[in-house]
């Protein structure tokens, strides 16, 4: 995917393009931004731009071009992140692959063999590591064939307890210590880097401190606070911000002209500015149906009796299951659900809680500001009378607490029931 196909992130793209044009890619990048905002897509785009075969054709190298050679001891290893020092060395002798490196320019074609293999994860010098479930857990969902396992592991990246394992990092670093096969610049992408154990982080840190030549590590995270500060300090940070609502609406209109305006408005609100999520919602209308169900549930809170919490709890669990099925309509999603229903629901409930949070957030601003769920305007105004801003704030806190409880192994059924009881308890007459 060329940079031009990246939705939003103009500022980040400009920063990366400048680094590419000046031949100043650092050893470590840290892409920080919320989930599904486009961190990995941008990392892949950068890897392609740095290695595209057509770069020379599209942008002939200038006399200024030179190979990017960093000498031992000339690297910037101080505490402050910053561009590595330049060592204006003469071009290295040509090797296999591309021969004399043309100067990397700022755009990839997206069509040449290199670009395609990078996008497909098949390029030997560009690797992507994503969190996975521990092997025993993966085994449960493992099918007979290799392919099943692969896919199940891709799903695993989204599970809350998925981790980047020490084996994978070792493998990656082993590969990084070898000479490049063909790339001008090797790019190693480590997704959700905060899921690494500290010991694994330290292995990575060691390599970032003494990096192999012509190599860029791109780490991505949505929770930089959970990372080792030493690791952060070795990377140049690139912030990826959610798209503002107007921009999201415009991009959605451009990408999905056939969809109804209402659907686009709902998706724009629900996606919280993350393009990846917006895409998912547009392409999986089932999820919008689940959202509708959830909002109905929330709206009905004004008239529920406490004993109904039992049923609402069950409904919420069912909705989570439905959402999971909508996002993973294949056999592997089904198998994961069968093998670890509790675990799947815990992960999936996070998305549901966000919808409920958006409801109570709307109650806070009812009649005063822009709504996340504009299609429920009437219901929100009505419910806001039973949930004044203070109660709505409290409700968001309750939801946040439940989210924490989920991670700490609360009994799912009891937790869900208690959640509804507590939300009802916040009503005023």
């Amino acid at each position: 995917m060329p940079f031009s196909a990246i939705v939003g992130h103009e500022q980040a793209v400009a920063v990366l393009r400048r680094a590419l044009r000046g031949d100043r890619l650092p050893t470590g990048y840290l892409f920080v931004g919320p989930a599904h905002v486009g961190k990995t897509a941008l990392a892949i785009a950068l890897a392609q731009a740095a290695n595209c075969e057509r770069v020379g054709e599209l942008h002939p190298p200038t006399p200024l071009s030179r190979a990017y050679g960093l000498g031992e001891g000339e690297r910037n290893t101080s505490e402050t992140p910053g561009p590595p020092t330049q060592a204006g060395k003469p071009a290295l002798p040509a090797g296999e692959g591309h021969g004399a490196s043309p100067r990397p320019t700022a755009e990839a074609c997206g069509e040449c063999s290199t670009c395609r293999r990078i996008a497909a994860g098949l390029h030997p010098d560009v690797r992507i590591v994503q969190p996975r479930l521990s092997l025993t857990a993966t085994k449960k969902v493992e099918g007979d064939g290799e392919e099943d396992r692969e896919e199940a592991e891709t799903l695993a990246a989204e599970m809350e307890d998925a981790r980047i394992t020490v084996e994978e990092v070792k493998d990656l670093l082993g590969s990084a210590s070898l000479a490049a096969v063909e790339a001008r610049r090797r790019v190693y992408i480590v997704c959700s880097v905060e899921t690494m154990e500290p010991a694994v982080s330290n292995r990575l840190l060691k390599t970032l401190e003494e990096p192999p030549p012509d190599t860029t590590f791109i780490l991505t995270t949505s929770r930089p606070a959970r990372m080792l500060p030493t690791l952060i300090s070795r990377c140049q940070q690139v912030m990826l911000h959610p798209l503002p609502p107007e921009e999201m609406a415009a991009k959605l209109a451009a990408a999905y002209p056939a969809a109804s305006a209402e659907q686009r408005a709902v998706v724009a609100g629900l996606s919280a500015g993350a393009w990846g999520r917006a895409q998912g919602l547009m392409e999986e209308p089932q999820i919008l149906a689940v959202r509708k169900e959830l909002l109905e549930m929330a709206a009905s809170l004004t008239r529920r009796e406490p004993w109904e919490a039992l049923r609402l709890g069950e409904n919420l669990a069912a909705a989570a299951e439905q959402w999971w099925r909508a996002e993973h309509p294949d056999e592997i999603g089904e198998r994961m659900l069968k093998a670890g229903r509790d675990r799947v629901l815990r992960t999936q409930l996070r998305a549901l809680l966000e919808v409920l949070e958006s409801w109570f957030r709307d109650l806070m601003v009812a009649g005063r500001g822009r709504l996340i769920n504009p299609d429920y305007r009437e219901e929100i105004l009505y419910a806001a009378r039973r949930y004044p801003p203070q109660a709505a704030v409290e409700a968001c806190r309750v939801l946040g607490e439940f989210r924490r409880d989920l991670a700490q192994n609360v009994n799912l059924r009891l937790g869900l029931e208690a959640l509804w009881v507590r939300l009802m308890g916040l009503r005023v007459n």
Partner: protein, 371 residues
């Protein structure tokens, strides 16, 4: 679509070798397969993990239709190994599938289309030379055991190959010991070329090379790759990048004591001492004067051992401790009857050389003497 046949014995033998190039844990499923194609009337087999190892060979076969396919390496090896000793026919009817027939057996194996299979790029050698197979095997056996296993320092997990116009030097070290082997022979190289080759590929190469053969092995080096070619088999690997430690500085220049020992008795003595020593970090203490060397080892929970062996000592009495394993590693491959151990102080490294030869040097760090 590929259609070929070949005797079971031939195919089995080559698969034993080739299937070792299949990593089995590649993130790209197709790289866990063996690539099989027709090539100039031969059958070509390739396996590579795209990192440490690429094995590429051809076997004579009856090719009746050109084509290519990839099939799971381990399964293919297992199937062929278990077939009757008759002609094996390989037929690929559709992309990514292979039918294997032999006698009354009939396997139908699902693989992956050959187009997806990736190879290491063809090497564009900057330096190329040949040396006899047996010699290369000897050199490797005398050095690569000293390569480090510690992946946090990748450079030391490989051996340095230094090709000069009139000799080849191979060096391996894990910082506790260093093995250096020189082979004097005119290499057709214009200037010195240094590369670091992973111990993994060298280990595989050693398995393939035959001790008593003098067939030529071609060695090709480029900036990124190394390739060895022996008897129709190409074995290649990506080089390890980085600066190898300055090994010349490690070799003690002026040891003032010299012990000459018989290799076989020393090995026996060390092995016996090792039974105790292995419980205390393999520590064996060497004390000696005039013509008697005493070796001792002790383990807190087990007890102790003392051994005596004859030697010729030049210089003052000695007292030093070594890791017995490290000494044995070298003695096992040293060759010859006698070995010379050069020492300075008890905290200075020792140097082992087969007596009267200066083409093999082994430096080993001492351990602290406890009690």
């Amino acid at each position: 679509m590929l259609k070929a046949s070949c005797p079971q014995g031939v195919l089995h033998e080559i698969l034993q070798t080739i299937s070792r190039g299949v990593s089995g844990r590649s993130t790209q499923p197709v790289q866990n397969n063996i690539f099989l194609s027709s090539a100039d009337g031969n059958l070509r087999l390739v396996a590579t993990d795209l990192e440490y190892l690429s094995l590429d060979t051809q076997v004579p076969a009856m090719v009746t239709e050109e084509g290519a396919v990839t099939i799971p390496g381990r399964v293919f090896n297992e199937i062929v190994a278990s077939l009757a000793e008759e002609e094996v026919s390989l037929e690929s009817e559709s992309p990514g599938e292979l039918t294997i027939r032999c006698a009354k057996s009939n396997y139908h194996v699902r693989g992956l289309p050959s187009d997806d299979f990736q190879f290491l790029p063809a090497i564009e050698p900057e330096v190329e030379f040949t040396l006899p197979e047996g010699d290369l095997r000897k050199i490797l056996s005398q050095t690569i055991f000293a390569c480090s296993q510690d992946e946090t320092r990748p450079i030391l997990t490989g051996a340095l190959f230094c090709a000069k116009p009139d000799n080849l030097i191979v060096v391996a070290t894990d910082t506790y010991r260093l093995a250096l082997r020189t082979l004097s022979l005119p290499l057709d190289v214009a200037e010195e070329k240094k590369v670091i080759v992973s111990a993994r590929v060298l280990g595989e190469l050693m398995r393939i090379l035959e001790e008593d053969s003098s067939d030529p092995v071609s060695v090709r080096l480029s900036r990124r790759l190394v390739e060895f070619e022996v008897r129709n088999l190409k074995i290649a690997s990506r080089l390890i990048e980085g600066e190898f430690p300055n090994y010349e500085k490690v070799i003690p220049q002026d040891p003032d004591k010299k012990l000459v020992l018989q290799i076989a008795p020393l090995e026996r003595v060390l092995r016996r001492a090792f039974i105790v020593a292995r419980l205390d970090s393999n520590r064996v203490v060497l004390r000696g004067e005039e013509s008697l060397l005493r070796l001792s080892a002790q383990a807190p929970d087990l007890g102790s051992v003392e051994e005596e062996i004859e030697m010729e000592l030049t210089g003052d009495p000695i007292e030093i401790a070594f890791n017995a394993r490290y000494l044995l590693d070298m003695l096992e491959v040293a060759g010859g009857e006698q070995v010379a151990l050069h020492l300075a102080g008890s905290l200075n490294p020792g140097t082992l050389r087969p007596l009267g030869r200066d083409d093999y040097t082994y430096v080993v760090m001492p351990m602290q003497i406890i009690a």
